[in-house]
Symmetry: C2
Subunit: 294 residues, 2 copies
DNA sequence: AAATGCACCATATGATCATATAATGAAAAA
DNA sequence: TTTTTCATTATATGATCATATGGTGCATTT
């Protein structure tokens, strides 16, 4: 009846915050500062702190506020929230995509039908539907109901997506505003190396996909142009949906990661043009070999 | 309390339909065919036809259906609906953009505030807000309210947009799937010629902007890749908002249209690479000279 | 001076309901 | 057989309301 409380998220954020700052036992946690950091008012921060007190992570002193109860590196991550809770609406969004790709949802659907199937309140459903509409794989019909487009399910769209990514990423790399992001590269290098040296055998499909996306988004972010980055993020959201329905060919991962690392090498050696050309071939190659099972 | 009826729109659609098909007095208008054409059920078509009958455009024969009451080229366009009614939500979307750009709306706003200001029901407002959020110039705050981003108002975003357009359009033209669209080119040529030969002095700002956008979207559509076209449409929607606040330098229009026509010439002569290079310079030139008054 | 803690107000969500409209099956007419 | 016409059902919208939560001014404490 009322919205979900922010305090669980804020609790998590506070823990991340004190960790990231390496804070130690006894340090003060000013309310307003935390509120500003998380872009909320003091109220939800207060209620988050109260819950953290119950868990012994912070101590309250009357009229003086809250203080860290232990060194930040000793804080245990809460075991709760474990149930794969992908951010509320995200869950519904995903279920709709799954059901569409598997054919459980027909091309034309009505809002009330979806409300019943997914047991969503109208507001949440509409939020999700409008988001999907902006992503381009559903559209509102003039009268009642919605109609899925062929964007998700057609082979042609799939290939067009790869062409688009190849062009955008290559061109992003060639922009005069492109600048290496040392920290980002370091992380990307770690992840890709881990994936190459064994990770490809046991990482989950979601982890592998995320590693791949993060790599490409890190590259495009270096171009310093929000429109390039946005368009890549947008198409990657679509890709995620489709690729989940494709059998991962894990044997290709070592080669893929090696190529990723090669791109980093080239960039760090200042050979941008070569890196861009190689990246282009890399993406087009991936698009040609994997095929959606639709 | 209930949604707006479709019948006014359908009435207009029917008139457009019979015009486009050059239908003549007495021809039959089957209900189901019209319904399928407009992707609705027979019900709203029926009610549209009843209204057209009152205006004498169609004749009803009991149990036989509706028949065109006059030759299609003699149908007068209805004078009603005159009040600049840009498709319902579009109006609210525009007003919000205007007020943001003119500074009437502060960076942080709450939903109820917007409902009051624009006298919108919650559902409509949320639809618009989510659309804007997808376009990237507002974001939901974790607690209450929304916050405008700097995408619309910053000079940097403005320039990044031009770079993005220049790259996308040039690259679209170089794709192997690029194919001339003769009919589209013909129309574009007409419009651009009209604009060059005098139109630039008295066309409205909206007309000029639309002509320009249509030209560029026609070009990108030839690439046969929905992602290229979508990204151009998306950025053009943003551009439209900002450019309305810029004084048009009409003296530049003859040169601009001449360049547009030159691009068509090059393409029709099969000189695609040159056309692409010229297009790139053309867009970047436009971005450098016009400046948003923000 | 700075931060907390409280009280009060504002906000957003979801449920329910009335109502106008869209969708649709089936009878009736052509 | 096709299309209209009618009757019935389904759908979507906006209004209203209860309620839990977020936001904020101010007295109080340190």
């Amino acid at each position: 009846m009322a919205r979900n409380s922010l305090s669980p998220q804020i609790s998590t954020s506070i823990i991340e915050f004190v960790r990231a700052n390496g804070m130690r036992k006894g340090e003060h946690l000013p309310l307003q500062m935390l509120a500003d950091t998380f872009r909320v008012s003091r109220a939800p921060v207060m209620s988050a702190l109260r819950k953290l007190e119950e868990r012994g992570i912070v101590r309250a002193e009357p009229n003086r506020g809250y203080f860290l109860g232990m060194d930040s590196d000793k804080i245990e991550v809460a075991k709760e929230d474990g149930g794969e809770h992908p951010e509320g609406d995200e869950a519904a969004y995903f279920r709709i995509a799954e059901d569409r790709l598997s054919g459980a949802l027909s091309e034309r659907v009505s809002e009330s039908e979806l409300m019943r199937i997914y047991e969503l309140p109208r507001t949440k459903l509409l939020k999700v539907l409008h988001r999907i509409a902006e992503e381009g794989w559903i559209e509102r019909l003039p009268g009642n109901g919605w109609s899925f487009t062929r964007t998700l399910t057609s082979r042609q769209s799939y290939e067009e997506g790869y062409v688009f990514r190849a062009v955008i990423e290559q061109q992003a790399m060639l922009l005069p505003t492109f600048e290496l992001n040392k920290e980002g590269f370091l992380k990307a290098r770690e992840t890709q190396t881990a994936l190459r040296d064994g990770g490809y055998e046991h990482w989950s499909r979601a982890e592998i996909f995320k590693a791949n996306n993060d790599f490409h988004e890190t590259l495009v972010a270096c171009a310093g142009n929000e429109f390039f980055l946005d368009s890549i993020k947008r198409i990657n959201r679509l890709r995620r949906l489709v690729e989940y329905h494709v059998t991962i060919d894990r044997s290709r991962l070592p080669r893929q990661t090696t190529e990723h690392l090669h791109i980093l090498d080239l960039l760090e050696a200042g050979r941008r043009t070569e890196a861009a050309a190689f990246l282009y071939t890399h993406i087009m190659g991936a698009g040609r070999i994997k095929a959606p099972q639709v």
